[in-house]
């Protein structure tokens, strides 16, 4: 679930962001408490709290005193914009490199994308 190669609090923050981007966690939805989270994933409560604090700092979560933490209404928009900025560099460029390395013409790739678009199902 968590690996030992990067700080766990960052991995927690990434996991929650991912749930927000995919819509698994909706706007104004309450997230688990740090103690629930710590118990569920078997991690130190201070580590969980640090991950949550980072998300509050970034404006992804907000606190309601005495009640808990919730997903900011703008969180999804914020995160999607951030990921869109790196989409071409992190997703498309490596795909192009792979296609070139194994000899798939880019023209075929483009056609494949077009067929998906006209085939429906795409947003």
């Amino acid at each position: 679930m968590f690996d030992d190669r990067s700080p766990i609090y960052l991995q927690i923050a990434e996991q929650i962001k991912n749930d927000i981007v995919t819509g698994a966690l909706g706007a104004d939805e309450q997230v688990m408490s740090t103690n629930q989270y710590a118990a569920f994933y078997r991690i130190n409560p201070a580590t969980a709290a640090k991950g949550f604090a980072q998300l509050v700092d970034e404006g992804v979560l907000y606190k309601k005193r005495g009640i808990g933490m919730f997903v900011s209404p703008k969180a999804r928009e914020l995160l999607r914009t951030g990921r869109q900025a790196s989409f071409f560099a992190e997703v498309v460029d490596p795909m192009i490199r792979e296609a070139e390395a194994i000899g798939v013409p880019l023209k075929d790739v483009v056609e494949h994308i077009h067929s998906r678009e006209s085939g429906g199902g795409a947003r």
Binding site: R5, I8, R42, N44
Partner: protein, 299 residues
């Protein structure tokens, strides 16, 4: 009750001529879960026994500190020893007594003992309360030990490899029970172990010992991703790692893999990538192995 802090000053414990703990200066912050990591024979158990007052220092001193008790040396001081609970793998239990007598003894010695919690946990671990301790299997004896450790709710609780005799499901039960009770009643916990990868996510701080000396003490998350491995043509790797702390090196033909300690700065990373070198993270377990390796010149 919020947990006791620990301070050692030039602590030395010798067995004959051999120092098991050697001029150790250490501080453990109260209220956190600390990992005490080291290989076999690194001095973990001796340190644990000294913190709990089971053993007197040969040199230097240990202080246990808290609002309620001030700052005191644990050896032969009942005020401290009733608040410090050390659970060792051997269990230190009266073998001929039934389990329920062991519980009775704990409740008379431990000021924060919670009998209800002890009962619940013994149920979960399926430890028969009427049985004599000597009739319990190794796993059940270990389970009884950790139940005593958790239910004592001692402001400083030390588990010294106490769970080695337990199988994986029981160990997971122990980790869950410990975290749940710690979340409710925060206190200082020390987990002494060499099973780094299994317990690392439970910890907030780690202390790494090697041959009785302190190798490093740090928040566990800061050690994650602190090492890096650099792989590529030997000359390029050597050039790039010349000024870094090298933990380990490995060669296969003209290819070299070097493990270094510390965060790589961005310019160095960019240089490595431009040169076509592979840069990868190093896991905590691996870092631990390198930091406490027996090989000469590995630092």
């Amino acid at each position: 009750m919020s947990g006791l802090g620990v301070r050692t000053e030039q602590l030395t414990v010798r067995f004959g001529d051999v120092p098991a703990v050697d001029s150790l200066d250490l501080r453990l912050a109260p209220g956190k879960i600390h990992g005490l990591l080291g290989r076999n024979g690194s001095g973990k158990s001796t340190l644990a026994a000294t913190l709990a007052g089971f053993r007197a220092p040969t040199g230097g001193r240990v202080l246990i500190e808290g609002d309620e008790i001030g700052s005191r040396e644990p050896y032969e001081d009942a005020v401290v020893t009733s608040r410090v609970c050390l659970i060792r793998e051997s269990g230190d239990l009266v073998d001929s007594a039934p389990v329920r007598h062991v519980l009775g003894l704990a409740s008379s010695l431990r000021p924060y003992w919670n009998a209800e919690l002890a009962g619940e946990l013994l149920d979960k671990f399926e430890v028969p309360v009427r049985q004599r301790v000597q009739k319990l299997s190794r796993g059940k004896k270990s389970a009884l030990g950790v139940v005593l450790g958790i239910a004592s709710r001692a402001p400083l609780t030390i588990f010294d490899e106490s769970y080695l005799g337990m199988d994986v499901p029981s160990r997971n039960l122990f980790y869950d029970a410990l975290l749940a009770d710690y979340a409710e009643f925060p206190r200082t916990i020390v987990l002494s172990t060499h099973l780094v990868s299994e317990v690392s996510s439970l910890l907030e701080e780690v202390v790494i010992l090697d041959r009785g000396r302190l190798v490093t003490q740090a928040p566990v998350d800061s050690l994650r991703g602190r090492g890096a491995s650099i792989v590529g043509p030997a000359t390029l790797v050597d050039e790039l790692t010349a000024d870094l702390i090298v933990l380990a090196e490995q060669r296969l033909g003209g290819t070299k893999s070097t493990t270094v300690l510390g965060d790589l700065d961005d310019t160095l990373l960019a240089k490595a990538r431009a040169a076509g070198l592979e840069v990868g993270p190093v896991g905590l377990q691996e870092l631990f192995v390198h930091l406490t390796g027996a090989k000469e010149g590995a630092r």
